[in-house]
């Protein structure tokens, strides 16, 4: 008897789920027509990588290589150079292979100067794989990205032309180690 009831109950649940699925005909669609309608993307979405600039317009990257070290797939390569006129460091070339990049954002975390940032642009398709290798001119953008006021050389102790030791923001004057005074 209980077995018969179980069978009948099973049949009933099957019909119930069929009916429930059928009622979905009258529900609104849960998807959007993508190329015409773009999905809303959060501002901190991890998409295409860019190199940002200071508020002054100089490039932020100091070619410290921390991003290249942090990158788990090793898709970043760069070379340090020094600007002769003011002593600022900058990358001689900066190359990201987006066919390897997994958009994990570890480079952004590692960057001490907020130079490398991930943006909400996710449309990166190319017909030729070579075109996915982005050079510095493709990565560099004109603005400061997510951090508008940050300027590395103003807060760091590194001396460049026009800003000596101890002249950075909130920085004490350098201690004269040859003096015995406290």
């Amino acid at each position: 008897m209980s077995q018969t009831l179980a069978i009948l109950h099973g049949i009933w649940t099957q019909f119930r789920s069929i009916g429930m699925i059928f009622m979905h005909s009258f529900r609104p669609r849960n998807v959007i027509s993508y190329p015409e309608v773009k999905p809303p993307v959060p501002p901190r979405y991890r998409g295409r990588i860019v190199l940002t600039r200071d508020p002054d317009g100089d490039e932020r990257c100091v070619a410290c290589n921390l991003c290249a070290v942090a990158c788990p797939v090793g898709c970043i390569s760069l070379q340090k150079a020094e600007r002769p006129e003011d002593g600022r460091w900058y990358p001689e070339f900066f190359r990201i292979n987006f066919s390897r990049c997994i958009f994990c954002g570890l480079c952004e975390e590692a960057c001490p100067t907020n130079a490398i940032q991930l943006t909400p642009d996710y449309e990166l398709c190319e017909y030729d794989r070579q075109n996915l290798v982005y050079e510095k001119e493709h990565l560099q953008i004109a603005g400061p990205g997510k951090y508008h006021d940050y300027n590395f050389y103003r807060v760091a102790g590194m001396s460049i032309t026009g800003k000596g030791k101890g002249q950075a923001l909130n920085e004490d004057a350098p201690i004269d180690v040859k003096s015995l005074l406290p």
Binding site: I7, S17, I18, I21, F22, H24, S25, R27, N30, V31
Partner: protein, 333 residues
């Protein structure tokens, strides 16, 4: 010369030519509707899953089928080196051929239908029985474990479900007094649609029809999650396409048979003016029902399915046949 032609075109010959033309038209309609059934399935599944489905190629995405066909024609038709060549090529042809052959038995309108032999229903059982070979040989000749398991599952499943598919329809045969499908439809036109007196037969027939066409929830021979694709794992290109379209031809065929056997075929209001419309509407409802089942139900475990077949469906259909016969004898006296 002209007289010779006129002599050749005697009424008998003309009738034969016209019958052949009808058969070809029915065949083409069947294949085309089976192909567009793929589109219908994708759209309806999408509807019930709150998606859109293919809507890019042509109006409502109707051209998607053409695009898919072009793609599948130009795909590399690769044959793995370890297969049994003859059987490997034979299987997809059988898959499509038997299903199309079975459709020839279905009476569509009072004047349309390929042929209506006196043993129509038995011929249908014969064709359905032979249709197992397609899946089975496809599975075996692929020489891979997944395919073989798919073939074995399909064989056991089809054989078990054929048994009571036959028995479930015997009530109809007993009531209508004929195996001829056209006469069964005519009987329903005069009396009552068989779905009412033969309701349990109808239930069992539905289950068996789904099992014979290997559709969800009885698609264990091609269970994607367990067997990679079952019996057609090793197939590609047009050979795979024939298995694929064959499945949809099977759906159209089973829907047509359900219409003819249980829902009075072309019968309906104003059916003397628009018989085909009624047939098409009823077929369409059953085809959508197949898709709704696929959207709604999960796949059962294999032993559950087999025990369901033998322990519930077989007794149900036997009791149905016995009760039909008893009532007919009682009413006859």
């Amino acid at each position: 010369m002209f007289e010779r032609i006129q002599e050749l075109l005697s009424p008998v010959v003309l009738a034969a030519i016209w019958a052949a033309c009808k058969a070809i038209i029915i065949l083409l309609t069947l294949v085309v509707s089976a192909a567009w059934m793929i589109w219908l399935e994708r759209r309806l599944l999408a509807l019930w899953q709150d998606r859109y489905g293919p809507n890019r190629v042509g109006p409502f995405g109707l051209g998607q089928v053409i695009a898919d066909m072009i793609k599948i024609f130009f795909k590399e038709d690769w044959m793995p080196p370890f297969v049994d060549k003859f059987t490997f090529v034979l299987a997809p042809f059988l898959a499509m051929m038997f299903m199309m052959l079975a459709f020839a038995l279905i009476p569509i309108t009072p004047n349309w239908g390929v042929f209506a032999p006196d043993l129509g229903m038995l011929l249908f059982f014969a064709i359905a029985g032979l249709a197992v070979y397609a899946v089975m040989l496809g599975g075996w000749s692929s020489n891979s474990k997944y395919s073989l398991l798919g073939g074995l599952r399909s064989t056991a499943q089809t054989i078990s479900y054929e048994v009571f598919m036959g028995i479930s329809l015997m009530g109809i045969v007993a009531q209508a007094g004929t195996f001829n499908l056209r006469e069964i439809v005519l009987w329903q036109e005069q009396h009552i649609w068989f779905v009412i007196p033969q309701f349990f037969g109808f239930l069992v027939w539905c289950l068996a029809g789904i099992a014979v066409t290997h559709r969800t929830p009885f698609d264990l021979p091609e269970a994607e999650s367990e067997l990679a694709a079952g019996y057609h794992t090793e197939y590609s290109g047009m050979k795979f396409g024939m298995f694929f379209v064959g499945e949809y031809v099977g759906i159209v065929m089973v829907s047509g048979l359900t219409t003819a056997l249980f829902f009075g075929g072309w019968d309906g209001p104003f059916s003397e003016h628009v018989p085909f419309l009624w047939f098409a509407i009823k077929c369409f409802i059953f085809m959508s029902g197949f898709i709704l089942l696929r959207a709604a139900l999960p796949r059962p475990r294999y032993d559950h399915m087999m025990s369901f077949a033998w322990k519930i469906c077989l007794p149900l259909s036997l009791i149905n046949l016995l009760a039909t016969a008893g009532i007919m004898l009682w009413a006859g006296n």
